[in-house]
Amino acid sequence: MRPAPDLLARRLLFFTGKGGVGKSTVTAAAALLAAERGQRVLVVEADAKGNLPGHFEQPSVGFDPREVYPGVFAMAMRTEDSLKEYLKLNLRVPVLGRLGPLARVLDFVATAAPGVKEILTVGKICWEVRESIEGRSSWDLVVVDAAATGHIIGQLDAPRAIQELVSVGMVREQTDWMVELLSDPAVTALNVVATPEEMPVNETIELVGRARAELSVPLGAVIVNRVLPELFTRADEETFEAIRGDEPRAVLTERVGPGATAVLEAARLAVSLRRTRAAHLAELREAVELSMLYLPYLFVRDQGLRVTKMIADSLAQELGL
């Protein structure tokens, strides 16, 4: 196993994962952690559900970045806005006044020709990174709540797909530097969030394989979210099993009341859930050969800034910060 890379030293971090594993929470936590360490962070919601700012107790954001936490600026990707900005920057066209209907048509083309919509997303992200690297903008780090595992390859591969589809024109010329930036391991990392359950683990293994084969984007870490605590050491577990026996159970019931059975049953459930998941974790670890970061299952809260902070703390520990 390779040691955990210093993720936050890069400039562009993508986070993907199967739906429901906590991808947005982890993305928000990574942004928060970087900001707490003094970085100026842009967090991009590219998998538009509009709930990323909720992880900072803030209302949803638009295309223009807004500070949602000291040092963390959030924006929601909107391909139409991205297109308008692109045209404004690159063409300086006199037709700007008529851009409304034109943008609609181009948006339509974008829907019809896949890769175009994705390039408007990835293009804007890459542009922000390049501007910062070249000193015209001031993001130390851009963190992306990217498409889910099923669509992330299409999203990140867009520049290359466009290179294949479009042989000439401005878009074609622009893809070269994007591919270069996305392929640079000093700049970019694709991170996969998973939970220790069957489907998320399978999808992660599959995605990592595909990413290695089809993408030039360097892989970062696999982040395992909602890991249940190990209740007992092996020796302690023998003691636990003994306590569950008829006589000790009867003694406990007598002492602490009729709830003793429920409490013992709950502990058995916890041990059993942990064990099923441990098997998936082992499979994942073996298959992906990437550094793994483990985040605990949070019993206390479900979502919100408190959770974002707790996850950020765990992330810091895992990264050795």
């Binding site: 199967k18 739906g19 429901g20 998998d47 538009a48 559900k49 063409l91 037709v95 034109l102 609609r104 048509v105 181009l106 083309v109 019809a112 020709a113 896949p114 890769g115 889910a148 099923g150 669509h151 299409g154 589809l165 479009v166 042989s167 000439v168 024109g169 878009v171 074609r172 069957e198 489907m199 998320p200 399978n202 209740l231 007992f232 020796a235 302690d236 023998e238 003691t239 003994a242 306590i243 026996g245 006589e247 000790p248 003694v251 406990l252 002492r255 602490v256 009341g257 009729p258 709830g259 429920a262 409490v263 709950a266 502990a267 459930l269 916890a270 099923t276 019993f299 206390v300 479900d302």
Partner: protein, 399 residues
């Protein structure tokens, strides 16, 4: 519609009376397993010929259903798989997995005016891209395939789980959106210069479209635009058939023989999406049959007795360990160890009790729910065979 109340409904009357049950919900809530379990339960208890049409099953589940490597082919789940689970099915269970690409190809072959056009479309590189990556295309083709299978009249009941989408309601609009997409005015406008110049001919630009094309050429290159136009010109030849078909799919989804079951876990985000989905189904006049609350924690975590016992275990771990040492159970001789284990047991109960309370609270927040609300407990092990599916199925039928 009734106000929220404790779960206690069942899916059996829906599965007995409807011909199509669509399971939907946000990603990761266990739609696929619940849909497959409904199929197993229906085939076992109700009989008839039941099909489970699944989009993206876990590998072990797929192999349990005999679906390895066979896209789009309906296969019967062997009776032996039921027998191994101690079940005697009254009916037949069939299963099929959706192969998006192949379904699209079949659709093109069906609707193209002639073979030449069909192959011109199938070979177009934009077509490959669209069918492979266009997110909405998965939504549409799943519903299209459902319609296709239903029209063969081969099954008494079809259960289908919906594809993972950004937005759970996307697929409801997919048929209408697809028809709009291929018949839209914008598209006609876009392809007009090419139509006027004949296929593969030079573009004829009018005053209105010239600025757009000049700009688009600079951005995308004229070759790419021509590829797009050519593709849509070919596709337009299928438009009539396509639009009719999309309407028929839409009608079937609205038909009273079709019902929707929303699946969710009792966690904030999936539950909010489930709520939204329920509202959308009602607003669009679809039949909302059931709400399945999946992977719920056991009720005993909410018992005050349990909470009291957990507190006592933690507070009096030392003295209790001494008492347990007196039972002369050999493993309980080390009182320090026993005390540590007792504290851990108490703490773990309180941890899980917090989650169970949150679940119970979220359940009461559901404002509008269908008549049937079903609880499926969190099974400690993965469900990957017919016997596991039957366990979930028991929960769906329990009354």
């Amino acid at each position: 519609m009734t106000p929220a109340r404790p779960a206690g409904g069942s899916l059996d009357s829906l599965l007995a009376t409807k011909e199509i049950v669509v399971f939907c919900g946000s990603g990761g809530v266990g739609k696929t397993s619940v849909a497959a379990a409904a199929g197993v339960a229906a085939a076992t208890r109700l009989g008839g010929k039941v099909l489970v049409l699944t989009i993206d099953p876990a590998r072990r589940l797929a192999s349990a259903l005999g679906l390895e490597g066979f896209g789009n082919v309906e296969k019967q789940v062997p009776v032996e798989a039921f027998k191994a689970a101690g079940l005697e099915p009254r009916g037949e269970l069939w299963a099929a997995q959706l192969d998006t690409k192949r379904s699209w190809d079949e659709l093109v072959l069906r609707h193209a005016p002639d073979e030449e056009t069909a192959y011109r479309i199938l070979e177009n590189r934009l077509y490959t891209n669209i069918t492979g990556r266009f997110v909405q295309s998965h939504d549409y083709i799943a519903m299209e395939r459902l319609f296709d299978i239903h029209s063969t009249g081969s099954y008494d009941l079809i259960v289908i789980d919906t594809p993972p989408t950004r937005n759970a309601i996307d697929f409801l609009e997919a048929p209408a959106r697809m028809a709009d997409f291929f018949g839209g005015r914008l598209l006609r406008w876009l392809t007009m210069p090419y139509r006027m110049g004949g296929r593969r001919g030079a573009r004829v630009l009018n005053v209105a479209s010239r600025p757009f094309y000049q700009l688009a050429d600079r951005i995308l290159g004229s070759q790419f635009l021509q590829d797009i136009a050519e593709f849509f010109l070919s596709f337009q030849s299928m438009y009539e058939g396509f639009a009719q078909r999309a309407q028929a799919v839409e009608r079937l989804l609205h038909d009273r023989r079709t019902t929707f079951a929303v699946v969710t876990t009792l966690e904030g985000a999936p539950l909010r999406e489930a709520q939204l989905f329920i509202e959308q189904l009602i607003k669009r006049d679809f039949h909302l049959g059931a709400l399945v609350l999946n992977k719920t924690l056991p009720d005993y975590l909410l018992s005050p007795d349990g909470a009291g016992a957990a507190d006592a275990l933690e507070a009096e771990a030392g003295p209790l360990a001494e008492v347990l040492a007196g039972t002369e159970v050999p493993e309980l001789g080390d009182t320090a160890r026993t005390a540590r284990v007792l504290r851990t047991i108490g703490e773990s109960f309180r941890n899980f009790a917090v989650v169970a309370k949150r679940e119970a609270e979220l359940k009461t927040e559901l404002s509008r729910v269908p008549d049937a609300v079903v609880n499926v407990p969190n099974f400690e092990v993965d469900i990957y065979d017919v016997s596991g599916l039957a366990r979930i199925g028991d929960c769906l039928f329990a009354s």
